[in-house]
């Protein structure tokens, strides 16, 4: 095998805080500790820093600053939007929500909670290429539909959904439209006004910001009940002393992500394609998700006869951080709902590998992965009682 190196290829799970973000955060973890709600200058400084970050996030999305609300991450934003719209429109008899089968759990489990409360959820299917059909959404919309929530880009297979088209349909049908853009922000050009997005969730730690901070865009005029009641922070819409350092970092992270987007994605696309082509030379492998309509940094490949956890542990032993389709984390053996949704049999879904790149990924990293992964797959297959060479 090639000389061992450390390759972090799990940027869809989380990213390293960039130096620029870290440097921007530090003053707010040190001397800039004033509470933004306080009246003295030390508080003012924090308030100004929050305002600046709000403008940066708004600019990145084509929104207005007052349409941006900071949260503790993507999950909170998803919960806030979906539960908020559901509970507020239920009073008007609208108790139907449309989402897709392969959303992130922050959306799916939230919808499941609402279903238990008496809401009706339509889960539109996705194609074998991992794409939602605009037609399906259109047909699913009813008189009593409160919300359509479709993710911008899928976190496992990286497929990019027809968001502008869904936005247009929702606008025409006068239904609110939310997109979980946690994976897309900074990686795909987004303009909430042009794309008719009413609400959007994002998270800092996916774009070299800190963990535990995110934002929710909510188009002006939409009345969303609070998820977290209390103090007057975030225009009284989200209580809690603001995580100034994290929010400042998010402002820098999103600004940098947007500034470098075209170049970065062009470069990542080349590396991604090289990985895909190289790994598909392994026998009994397949690419999951559309090859073109996918995030520039996402590779997701299944290897028959390979168990995901064993694969990941062996890659880790070789210095490669990656993730799999099997939900190791929950201790459950259920294969990824995303991979099942695009039609993969459970056994194959178990043996899939997600490599997600970032601007820190180098060509040497790609070479290394291409040299190590085939050997690891072979080794695991050789240990399997099911695999015949």
């Amino acid at each position: 095998m090639a000389e061992k190196r450390f390759v972090y290829a799990d940027n869809a799970a989380t990213t390293k805080i960039s130096d620029a973000v870290f440097d921007a955060m530090v003053p707010w973890l040190k001397e800039g500790y004033g509470n933004a709600s306080s009246i003295y200058r030390k508080g003012d400084e924090s308030a100004r820093a929050l305002n600046k970050a709000r403008e940066q996030v708004a600019t990145a999305l084509g929104a207005e600053p007052r349409e941006i609300f900071f949260t503790s991450g993507g999950s909170e934003a998803d919960n806030w939007v979906i539960k908020g719209v559901a509970h507020s429109l239920a009073a008007k008899g609208k108790k139907h929500i449309i989402t897709s089968v392969f959303e992130h759990h922050a959306v799916l489990h939230t919808c499941e909670t609402l279903r238990k409360e008496g809401f009706e959820i339509t889960y539109v299917p996705v194609s074998d290429q991992g794409l939602v059909s605009v037609e399906d959404i259109k047909n699913a919309i009813r008189e009593d539909t409160a919300l359509v929530s479709i993710m911008y880009a899928n976190n496992e297979i990286g497929t990019i959904q027809p968001i502008a088209e869904i936005g247009a349909v929702c606008k025409e049908k006068k239904v609110l439209f939310h997109t979980d853009a946690v994976q897309a922000v900074g990686n795909v050009p987004i303009n909430v006004k042009e794309q008719n997005i009413d609400m959007l969730s994002l998270s800092a730690h996916k774009i070299h910001g800190a963990k535990g901070v995110g934002a929710m865009y909510c188009r002006r005029g939409i009345v969303l009940p609070n998820l977290i009641d209390g103090g007057g922070q975030e225009s009284g819409k989200r209580a809690g002393t603001e995580n100034v350092a994290g929010i400042v970092g998010l402002g820098v992270a999103i600004t940098n992500a947007i500034a470098t987007l075209p170049e970065r994605t062009a470069r990542l696309r080349v590396m991604r394609n090289r990985l895909i082509d190289g790994l598909l030379t392994i026998s009994h492998s397949r690419l999951n998700g559309d090859r073109e309509k996918r995030l520039a940094g996402n590779v997701n490949i299944s290897f028959e006869g390979v168990e995901g956890e064993a694969l990941l542990l062996t890659l880790d032993a070789n210095g490669i951080c990656a993730s799999s389709g099997s939900a190791c984390t929950s201790g459950s053996l259920d294969p990824s709902h995303v991979l099942l949704s695009i039609g993969l049999p459970a056994e194959i879904a178990h043996g899939s590998l997600r490599l997600s790149l970032s601007d820190e990924t180098t060509d040497e990293d790609v070479d290394y992965m291409l040299s190590v992964i085939p050997q690891v797959v072979d080794k695991i297959r050789a240990m399997s009682p099911l695999w015949e060479k």
């Binding site: 006869g305 168990e307 995901g308 956890e309 064993a310 542990l313 062996t314 032993a317 099997s326 190791c328 984390t329 929950s330 201790g331 459950s332 053996l333 294969p335 459970a346 056994e347 178990h350 240990m383 399997s384 009682p385 099911l386 695999w387």
Partner: protein, 143 residues
């Protein structure tokens, strides 16, 4: 939450002992549940009531592989009687623990040993059930 496997588990996972097949096995057991992704196949060579050689093949998670490896080490050179006393708990202890969600994987190892011994008796024309008991599936995996 990440796995938090012990160093011992990682050692047995990374360098599994007794991997492979035994062409001269006189007992072979396969247990598990393909649906939940785990299959463990164990080959034993029994000579005068003693397990003189053992190999395994496993399709499964890190814990499955490590417990397979550990279980083979623990029964090699033992009498069938002693091997039948092997519990998943003993394997887990030998591995310096497993995360709670992974305890069920160790059950598979215990079952694989029993299944191989069961096959050994069956080949001899002896009904294994009174000796080995019911083996059953890895119920823990079907939640």
């Amino acid at each position: 939450m990440a796995m938090l496997y012990s160093d011992r588990v990682m050692d047995h996972f990374s360098n599994p002992r007794n991997v492979g097949e035994l062409t001269d096995a006189n007992g072979v057991g396969e247990v598990g549940n393909a649906k939940c992704g785990d299959i463990m196949k164990m080959y034993i060579k029994v000579d005068k009531g003693v397990i003189t050689d053992v190999k395994f093949k496993t399709f499964g998670c890190g814990a499955a592989i490590a417990t397979s490896s550990m279980a083979t080490e623990m029964i090699k050179g033992k009498t069938i009687e002693d091997a039948l006393k092997l519990t998943n708990k003993a394997v887990v202890e030998a591995l310096e623990g497993l995360p709670p969600v992974k305890i069920h994987c160790s059950v598979l190892a215990e079952q694989a040993v029993r299944a191989a011994i069961s096959d050994y008796y069956t080949r001899l024309g002896v009904d294994p059930t009174p000796i080995v008991g019911e083996i059953g599936d890895c119920h823990a995996c079907e939640h």
